[in-house]
């Protein structure tokens, strides 16, 4: 393991800082079932590409609720990819720091790709596919970690280091009870919400101001006449 680690390189470095989001983590981020699923998918990718994949997330919680390291790989949950059985490995690493509730400092996240494979994906590649410090510190931090590590085989294929993992499109039907749930809101509002809010604020604010000025003039609002 040490020999591999010595040859490993950090591929890019990304630091993100954001405001406190929901306080400290009280439990490990990836629950057991989800971690098992991620490891199983990585194992399938390793079988196709001949590269071991993994994740290692260091969590530092100033409140002391939970601090530690979560890791897993194609070899299984809690097993590092850096192992003699894996001559080539690529690992998503992140350091998440949750400040105490009383601290004025922001939570922070740093992530990078640790690998002994040259020419592979780095943190900029991960950013292109939606990985960010904000996501790693957000309410869906488990999905953010899974999205980061599971993107690695697809990115490796992009870099020409291995063949792509084939997608499995469903042939036929799926169980009748299964369907998409939680339909998202308007795409247009999501894309242009800031402009809509700004134009609505101008419209309402402007009308309100003009109306108030007219009413103040018409009904002498704010002016007091005193009769002796």
């Amino acid at each position: 393991m040490r020999a591999h680690a010595a040859r490993a390189v950090v591929l890019g470095l990304a630091v993100a800082v954001s405001g406190p989001i929901g306080g400290a983590e009280a439990t490990p981020i990836l629950d057991a079932a989800h971690a098992e699923e991620v490891a199983a998918q990585l194992a399938e990718a390793t079988a196709v590409q001949g590269i071991c994949y993994g994740w290692q997330v260091q969590i530092d919680d100033d409140d002391g609720t939970y601090s530690g390291t979560e890791l897993g790989s194609s070899r299984g949950v809690d097993l590092a990819a850096e192992h003699p059985s894996c001559p080539r490995f690529i690992v998503f690493r992140a350091d998440l720091h949750y400040t105490s509730e009383s601290s004025e400092s922001s939570d922070s996240a740093l992530f990078y790709v640790w690998a002994n494979v040259g020419g592979g994906p780095d943190d900029e590649d991960l950013r292109r596919v939606g990985v960010s410090g904000e996501a790693l510190l957000g309410n869906k931090d488990d999905l953010a970690i899974a999205n980061a590590v599971l993107a690695l085989p697809a990115l490796v294929a992009e870099h020409g280091l291995a063949p792509p993992v084939p997608a499995v499109g469903t042939e036929g039907t799926i169980p009748a009870a299964d369907r998409a749930t939680g339909r998202p809101g308007s795409d247009w509002i999501r894309a242009y919400g800031a402009f809509v809010f700004l134009s609505a604020a101008l419209l309402i604010g402007g009308l309100g101001w003009a109306g108030w000025a007219w009413a103040a003039e018409r009904f002498h609002l704010g002016k007091h006449s005193v009769r002796e």
């Binding site: 079932a33 989800h34 098992e36 699923e37 199983a40 998918q41 990585l42 399938e44 990718a45 292109r128 596919v129 939606g130 999905l143 999205n147 599971l150 993107a151 085989p153 697809a154 990115l155 294929a157 992009e158 020409g160 792509p164 993992v165 084939p166 997608a167 499995v168 499109g169 469903t170 799926i174 169980p175 009870a177 299964d178 369907r179 998409a180 749930t181 939680g182 339909r183 998202p184 809101g185 308007s186 795409d187 247009w188 999501r190 894309a191 242009y192 700004l198 134009s199 609505a200 101008l202 419209l203 604010g205 402007g206 009308l207 309100g208 101001w209 003009a210 108030w212 000025a213 007219w214």
Partner: protein, 144 residues
């Protein structure tokens, strides 16, 4: 400031706001992620009366998915060992390698997209009860 000036300034601000909204609506109100993909990439196949479409691009998948997500922020996304999936109100967009350095882009409506990519997004964007049929190892079971 005189009352008259305040009324005029208020109406001007309201007019700017209203005009901004009207222009925004006129220029972008009838666009969608599906239209964006259709305008930007080469159509390869269309099925079910256009419910499902397949496109190609010479760009790699990460560049394609970044372009689409930058223009139309997805409500949710799933990255997978095989590719990248974006969820919108009415559509699911999947981007994956074409095996030659470029990309294949699939746009399906919500129902068809969930069926088509059940093995990849099932359990994340809806109910999921059959990992064996989907060819996925295990699963979270229900939506996250």
């Amino acid at each position: 400031m005189s009352t008259r000036a305040q009324i005029i300034l208020g109406l001007v601000l309201a007019g700017v706001g209203g005009l901004t909204f009207a222009i925004l609506l006129a220029v972008t109100g009838f666009e969608s992620p599906r239209d964006f993909v259709d305008d930007r990439y080469t159509l390869v196949a269309s099925q079910d009366g256009g419910r499902s479409k397949e496109y190609s691009s010479p760009q790699p998948p990460s560049a394609v998915v970044q372009t689409i997500a930058d223009r139309w922020q997805p409500a949710d996304r799933v990255n997978d060992t095989a590719g990248f999936f974006l969820r919108y109100r009415d559509d699911i967009v999947a981007v994956m390698s074409d095996g030659a350095g470029g990309s294949r882009i699939y746009v399906d409506d919500e129902e068809e997209g969930y069926r088509h990519w059940y093995g990849h997004v099932g359990g994340y964007w809806g109910t999921y009860s059959s990992p064996a049929e989907a060819g996925r190892g295990g699963g979270p079971g229900t939506g996250k």
